[in-house]
Amino acid sequence: MRQPDLTGDVASVLITEEEIRTRVADLGRRISEDYEGKELTLVSVLKGSLPFMADLMRAITIPVAIDLMEVSSYGTATESSGLVRILKDLSSSIDGREVLIVEDIIDTGLTLNYLVRYLRGKNPRSLRICTLVDKPARRLVDIPIDYRGFEIPDQFVIGYGLDYGEYYRNLPFIGVLKPEVYASP
């Protein structure tokens, strides 16, 4: 992969910083109302959801616990017959708690499906899903989404946590990556 040009590699801005801020605030309000009086744990899925988690938790006005998880990706598998692995597990029990998975993007649904099954095995009182970005055109397995920030077209997006080759996560907006970036060796 060639050296990234943080802003020069962006073909267009799909969701502006301001639009993200407004939407995250709205999600925070809705979540605060829905979970009023309940013991809520936000589970963020590393690494992409970090900026979203950081902003969302501050937009929520009720007490929340947070936890972080990281799972391996097929793209990093070194064995062709490998299985998904938990790279970073929960730090605290979610037994009996209301759990909200916080995702940056849902496309195929494969990782999320794995996570949902894994977390259900830990006996939460409820398990719901919040994603900043939903790309339904790429969905392979259907999973009900409870809170959705933006539904986006079938384009490769970066920024606000979303990466290509581990770069571009620190862009404050969500943009479309220029095709020549991923076409180049």
């Binding site: 793209g75 062709s80 017959s81 938990i86």
Partner: protein, 185 residues
């Protein structure tokens, strides 16, 4: 760290001989995320002659039992998938309750990009990804009034027995022999 949950267990139900390298790759991805799948488990008759014999069937590549979903994968160029689209339309007309998702070449490309495997795309796609075809099954005149599940001892069951060997090959390998029935590739 907890034990790998049940969801992560590979389907490991046999050994299909995939018709195309892209199908083997998708099977590896499904296995990685613990999604149970069956390879071409059902042949749906879609055309009959005047004697009531089935003259054309459609066997979607995968069935995902957990989601009651069939998945058909093609990596041919968009301009060459007309026949497959026609079959899929016919299938949906005749079996409206069946859920089928068709993954086109662009979808497979996006999947490979997501997993950082664009470099393998050529070897897994289109004619490059095709492997030796050995037709040793009954001709398409077999009578079958209803969708048929491949019984034990048929070529399809032999496919399933080959699965472990194929799935354990290095990603991108296209060495599998092919035995297939009514493929429309």
């Amino acid at each position: 760290m907890d034990e790998v949950p049940e969801a992560a267990a590979p389907s490991g139900v046999g050994a299909p001989l995939f018709a195309h390298a892209s199908e083997a790759e998708l099977a590896r991805i499904l296995d990685y995320y613990g999604i149970e799948w069956q390879y071409e488990p059902t042949a749906f008759p879609i055309l009959w002659n005047l004697d009531g014999n089935v003259v054309e069937s459609f066997s979607p590549d995968y069935y995902l039992p957990e989601f009651d979903l069939y998945v058909e994968l093609t990596t041919l160029k968009q301009s060459l998938v007309r026949k497959k689209n026609r079959k899929l339309r016919r299938l949906r007309e005749l079996y409206p309750d069946i859920r089928v998702k068709l993954l086109y070449a662009r979808d497979f490309r996006a999947l490979m990009m997501k997993y950082g495997r664009l470099g393998l795309l050529d070897s897994l796609s289109g004619t490059e990804g095709q492997v030796i075809v050995v037709h040793d099954t009954a001709p398409p005149g077999d009578t079958a009034a209803a969708p048929s599940r491949a019984p034990a001892g048929t070529p399809r069951s032999r496919m399933r027995r080959r699965h472990a060997a194929i799935a354990s090959e290095p990603a991108g390998a296209a060495e599998a022999l092919t035995r297939t029935t009514e493929r429309c590739r």
